[in-house]
Symmetry: C2
Subunit: 406 residues, 2 copies
C-alpha cells in the first residue's frame, strides 16, 4: 500500500512537471497572466495519506479549509455548518494546513479566505455540484476509492446525445455509457437507467458520480456484467444542463414539477424507446434496471409504481415515502398500497433501498419500509454510514451494478 | 437586438429561479452548507451589454476583477499583466463593479480578493483552460457570439472514446463529434481533425473551444457541410486529460516531445485508421481536413509536410515557422523547401494560415509566409486582431469549417 501511494505521489509530481514543460510553448503568454510567481503544489498527498493544503494569500487575516470529509457542527444559529480547519501563514504569505490521514475517497473542498469561498488555485481538478457550487477535488487512493479513477485496460465510451422528448416538448440531452467491447461486438446489452438528484442535471453522474469509470472498473474486474448506462436530465423543464446554453428553452415551472410525473412519463415514452431503437439493447424487463438518488429516487419509486412490468431491477437511493407538502408537493397516498401490491405481483428480481444513517430523508425511508412490510413486499435494504452525499451514491452504484442482470 | 437581450436576461433570471426551486428537496442539506446567506446574482448582464460583477467579501481591503476582454499592460517589472477593474464595497460587504458594454463573446474572468485569485462563487459556469487555470465564464450574446451557444434545432453527438495507440504505447482518449443526422442517415461523412495547443488536452476544443456547438450552428444554418470532427489529445505522453486519472500511465518526457513527431505519427497511424474503421467516413484525401492551434498548429504543419497526400484542407492557427530552440526544440530546416515543394505538388484544395496581429508567435507566421512565398506555394492568409486567445481560435474554427469539403 505504501508503495502504491509513493507511486501515486510521484506520478502527480511527474504530471505537474510534465504539464509545466508541455506548456512552454505558450510560456510567453502564460508569464503575462500568472506573473513570475512559483506555482504551489496543493493539495500535496503524503505517503501516509495526510494531505497538505496551501494557498498564497499574504494579505488575508484568516484562512480556513472546508472539505466534505469534515463533520457538520452546529453553527450557533440553530443551523448546521461544516467544520473547518484553520491554516497558518508562513513568511512568504503562504497559508497551509496538514490534514488527515484521510480515508481513501474522492473529496470536494474549498478554502475560506477571510470568509470568501475560494477554489484551490493550484488544483485544476474542479467539479460542479449541480446548481449548488463548484469545488476543488482531491483523490485519496486506496481500496475504498479504487473504483473511482480510470486505469489501464479496456474502457467504455460516453456519448452525449440529444433526443426528442415529445412528452416534454423539448430536444434534450443525455449521456449514454456503452461498455468496453460494445463497439467491437455484435451482442445486445442490458440497460441501467441512472437518475440524478434535485439541483443536478445530466452531467452529475458522469462527473461527481464518476459512473463511467466505476462501470469500467466493475466490468473489467468481472464484478458487473457489461451494460449500457443511461444518464438523463431529470428536470422536466430543462433541455440540458443550463451551463451549456441559456439559449435553450426552459419552461418556467414550480418545484411541483418534481412530482408532476412529467419526467417519469418522458423516461418511459421518450428515453427508453430512443435507447432501444438506437443502441444494441436487450429490450425486455429482465434486462432493464432503474435507480436514482434523492429526487431521482422519488422518480424511481414513481416510475416503478406506474410501470410495474418495465424493470426487473429497481434501486432507490437516499429517498423514501417523504412528506413533501412543505415544498408544495402533494402525493396521493391512497393509491400506495394498491401500487405496492401491483409491483409485488410483477415480482421484480430486485427492489433495493439504500440510505445513510445520517440522511435528512432517513425517516422517509423508515416510512417506506414500513409500508412495504405491511404488504409483505420483498426488498433488500442497505443502510450505510453518512448522509445525503456523493460519497454514498458512488458506493451505492458500486454495490447496485454488480447485482444486475444475473 | 435589445429585445433578444431582454429575453436573454429574463431567461437567466428564470433559470436561476427555477434552479433554486428544483433544489428545494435538498434544501435541508443545502442550508447547512451555505448558511442562510442570499445568493448574489453575478455576473448580471444588463440590456445594454454592461455587466455587473459582484462578490461578498466583507473583510477584504481590495477586490479587483480580471477578465480576458481587458488589455494587457506593463506590470512594472519588465513583464505584462492583465489590466484589472476595481470593485467597490457596499454596506453589506458586497463588492461590485459595472463593466462594459462588452462586445458579444464568451469571456473568462476571475476576481482578485486581496490578491487571491477567486472564481465567482455566484457563477456555476466554470471552465478549465488546460494546465493553466480554471475561470468563470460569461456569455455576452449578439451576432459575434451567436455560434457559441446551443439553440433549438438538430444537434450532433459527442463521443468520448478510448482507442489503442500502438505508436505511443497508450490507450488514449479522444472526443468525436458526429453531426446532426449522422445516426439517422446511412451516408458517409468527411472528417476534420482538430488539434489543441500546448498545455491543453482533448477537453480543450469541446469546452473552451465550444467546437460541437459551433459545428451544430454552422451545419444547421447551411454554412458548413455536415462533418465528423475528431478532437484528440495532442500530448504524446498522456493517455488523457490528467484530471480524469493520475492512475493512467504518463511517460516522463521533456518539452522536446512536442517536436519529436510522435503525436503526428500516432495521428496518422492510429487515430485516422480508428476513425475510418469505426465511423461512416469518406476515407480519402478530398474528405480529410486538419487544423490546430499553437502546438496543434505546429503538429498540423509537421503532419501535412510529412504526409502531403493525406489532407485536402489544412489550417494552421497561431503558429508558423517558429524558432523553438530556446525550448530545446530543434527543427531541421534543411528539409523545409523540399517539404513545401512536395506539398505544392500534392496541391491541397486549401492551405489556410490564421494569426492575430498581437500574437507572440506573429513573427513565426511572417517567416512561414516568406518561405512559402519563395516556393510559390498557394495559401490563404487570415490576419485577425488580438493575440493567442480562445476568442481567436473560436473565430478561426467558425471561418475554417465553412470552407471545407466544397
Amino acid at each position: 500500500m505504501l508503495l502504491s501511494h509513493l507511486n501515486f505521489a510521484k506520478k502527480v509530481a511527474i504530471w505537474q512537471k510534465t504539464a509545466a514543460l508541455l506548456s512552454l510553448i505558450t510560456l510567453n503568454a502564460m508569464a503575462q497572466e500568472v506573473g513570475q510567481r512559483e506555482r504551489l503544489v496543493s493539495p500535496e498527498l503524503k505517503d501516509d495519506n495526510t494531505v497538505v493544503f496551501s494557498i498564497r494569500a499574504p494579505k488575508a487575516e484568516n484562512v480556513t479549509l472546508s472539505g466534505n470529509w469534515m463533520p457538520m457542527v452546529p453553527d450557533g444559529n440553530q443551523g448546521m455548518k461544516r467544520q473547518t480547519v484553520a491554516l497558518t501563514k508562513d513568511g512568504q504569505g503562504v497559508w497551509s494546513a496538514t490534514v488527515g490521514p484521510l480515508e481513501p475517497e474522492l473529496y470536494g473542498y474549498s478554502f475560506l479566505v477571510d470568509d470568501v469561498t475560494t477554489l484551490d488555485p493550484s488544483n485544476l481538478m474542479v467539479a460542479r455540484d449541480g446548481t449548488f457550487r463548484t469545488e476543488s477535488l482531491l483523490y485519496v487512493p486506496g481500496d475504498a476509492s479504487d473504483l473511482y479513477w480510470a486505469k489501464t485496460g479496456p474502457k467504455g465510451s460516453v456519448h452525449q446525445i440529444w433526443y426528442e422528448s415529445p412528452t416534454l416538448d423539448l430536444t434534450r440531452r443525455m449521456f449514454v455509457y456503452t461498455p468496453p467491447g460494445y463497439h467491437e461486438s455484435k451482442e445486445d446489452y442490458p440497460v441501467l437507467y441512472l437518475l440524478h438528484g434535485g439541483g443536478g442535471d445530466e452531467e452529475a453522474w458522469p462527473t461527481l458520480g464518476v459512473a463511467p469509470t466505476i462501470l469500467d472498473n466493475l466490468i473489467n474486474s468481472g464484478k458487473a456484467k457489461p451494460m449500457i448506462v443511461v444518464m438523463t436530465n431529470g428536470n422536466p423543464t430543462q433541455a440540458s444542463a443550463q451551463t451549456i446554453s441559456p439559449k435553450l428553452p426552459k419552461v418556467e415551472q414550480s418545484a411541483r414539477g418534481m412530482a408532476n410525473m412529467m419526467f417519469e412519463k418522458s423516461l418511459v415514452n421518450d428515453v427508453i424507446p430512443y435507447i432501444e431503437n438506437n443502441f444494441r439493447v436487450k429490450a425486455n424487463k429482465e434486462n432493464r434496471a432503474l435507480t436514482g438518488l434523492s429526487m431521482g429516487g422519488l422518480q424511481t419509486i414513481n416510475t416503478s409504481f406506474e410501470n410495474p412490468n418495465l424493470f426487473d431491477y429497481i434501486g432507490v437511493m437516499s429517498m423514501g415515502f417523504a412528506d413533501l407538502s412543505r415544498f408544495g408537493i402533494e402525493v396521493d397516498h391512497s393509491k400506495r398500497a394498491q401500487q405496492i401490491l401491483a409491483l409485488k405481483e410483477a415480482d421484480p428480481e430486485l427492489y433495493w433501498i439504500a440510505c445513510g444513517k445520517d440522511d435528512f430523508l432517513y425517516e422517509s425511508v423508515v416510512t417506506m419500509r414500513n409500508e412495504l412490510d405491511k404488504q409483505d413486499f420483498d426488498y433488500k435494504y442497505r443502510e450505510s454510514i453518512g448522509g445525503h452525499t456523493w460519497s454514498n451514491w458512488r458506493i451505492y452504484l458500486s454495490e447496485f451494478a454488480p447485482m444486475l442482470f444475473k
